[in-house]
């Protein structure tokens, strides 16, 4: 946006209306001098279009939530969304470039590295990279919007930005993470490999966590970036291959 959003003071504040969005929100007329500012007017029109969309969406949502027929259908699933387009992938590439590196997630690919690391390793831990992906029922990347304790695990719900496997899925996706620390993941971006039933536990690559031990020096140091690279590199080869784990 070309204009600073300075019309919004903190709670209780009442600075003068100055930014384009605020004029739209308040229905106040744009002053003559501002109407001659092409950049301002471009932002003003964009804000007006967005607010019109929001109004329409609120009406739709309100109607949908009040419909008995819809309410009776609850629980049958969410909205199907397409796989992410190349345009979004380019944007993701920029995000990746700017990612800050910190420390790791759950099974963080203890198995993905083919290591079979210790007694806590999942059944698929000794699999090759291709094997890990062949055994994955779902590979998805998104932002955690909810966590809910279950018996011995935590139900983690993502708003999915991209499905790698299968190529399409619901807008939200939930999986069960065995670690209690998952309760604090709300707001985190992550990539998850969810194995087929009885073939292991989910592998999670969380933004801001370190890449798994054994990552090569020339590989990404952020777990999410590393995981994304791993999936990109091996997914195609894994497609159509059977999961080599005995169930």
């Amino acid at each position: 946006m070309g204009h600073k959003d300075n019309g919004a003071a903190g709670e209780g504040g009442s600075r003068p209306v100055e930014d384009p969005l605020m004029y739209v929100l308040t229905d106040e007329p744009v002053p003559e001098e501002k109407s001659r500012d092409a950049a301002f007017m471009r932002d003003y029109r964009a804000a007006g279009e967005d607010v019109a969309l929001l109004r329409a969406d609120l009406d739709r949502i309100g109607q949908a939530l009040c419909r008995e027929s819809v309410a009776q259908d609850l629980g049958e699933g969410g909205v199907m969304i397409p796989a992410v387009t190349s345009r979004v992938r380019r944007r993701w590439a920029l995000v990746v470039a700017a990612a800050v590196v910190v420390s790791a997630g759950i099974v963080v690919a203890g198995g993905v590295r083919g290591g079979g690391q210790g007694e806590g390793s999942p059944p698929g831990a000794a699999l090759t990279e291709v094997g890990q992906l062949a055994c994955a029922e779902v590979v998805a990347e998104g932002t955690v919007v909810d966590t809910e304790p279950e018996d011995d695990a935590v139900k983690v719900t993502l708003v999915v930005d991209r499905y790698y496997k299968p190529e399409r899925g619901e807008r939200t996706y939930s999986f069960s993470a065995p670690q209690r620390e998952a309760e604090s993941w709300t707001g985190s971006k992550l990539l998850v490999l969810v194995p087929q039933p009885d073939s292991g536990t989910p592998s999670v690559f969380k933004e801001g966590e370190p890449a798994p031990p054994g990552a090569a020096a020339d590989e990404a140091t952020d777990a999410l970036v590393w995981g994304r690279g791993f999936v990109t590199k091996w997914l195609e080869e894994s497609l159509g291959k059977p999961c080599p784990v005995d169930h």
Binding site: E11, S14, V17, D27, D50, L58, L65, E68, A71, D73
Partner: protein, 173 residues
């Protein structure tokens, strides 16, 4: 906009349009379908209590009931039941564009907006619903809620900035 009707010297509590609006404001505020009728009854009761106390009917009944409904929704939204119902409510939106225009793109966008609406702080969600669904002006909202206009503006601005981000993200997909 509909008005209350005179009936034997006494106004109807809510007409059909007002009831529909109350239901939508409750739903947008976070009240699940199963509780909507209770919410409408609560709004009726508040109005009845006001009249029984000898008070004047609100000058703008539609605005008044929308605000009462939004306050009820805030109370409900703060309760522990909200988390359990969230997924149900979002699941209900899968057909959100089925009876309107736009198809898949509209449906995906509406779902994203609904989800973002759920994540807004209660006070921000309330002003968004009152401004854009109940069509109250900033001044009306401030008057009804008893807060300064600047507060309404800042809440509205912060909320719409968040929601616009969602719109743009969905647009890019």
């Amino acid at each position: 906009m509909s008005r209350t009707r005179a009936d034997s010297g006494r106004p109807e509590l809510l007409d059909a349009d007002q009831e529909e609006r109350v239901r939508a404001v409750l739903a947008l505020g976070g009240v699940p379908y199963a509780d909507l009728q209770d919410g409408v009854q609560q709004v009726r009761l508040r109005l009845l209590e006001r009249l029984e106390r000898g008070g004047e009917p609100p000058r703008n009944v539609s605005a008044w009931v929308a605000v009462v409904a939004s306050n009820l929704a805030m109370d409900w939204h703060r309760s522990v039941r909200r988390r359990r119902r969230l997924e149900e409510r979002l699941g209900a939106l899968r057909n959100v564009a089925g009876e309107g225009d736009g198809g898949e793109e509209t449906r995906v966008r509406a779902l994203a907006v609904a989800r973002a609406l759920e994540r807004l702080p209660d006070a921000q969600r309330q002003v968004v619903v009152l401004r854009f669904h109940a069509d109250l002006s900033v001044r009306q909202i401030a008057g009804e809620l008893g807060v300064p206009e600047g507060t309404v503006k800042s809440r509205l601005h912060a909320a719409v900035r968040s929601l616009r981000t969602v719109l743009h993200d969905v647009e890019a997909v």
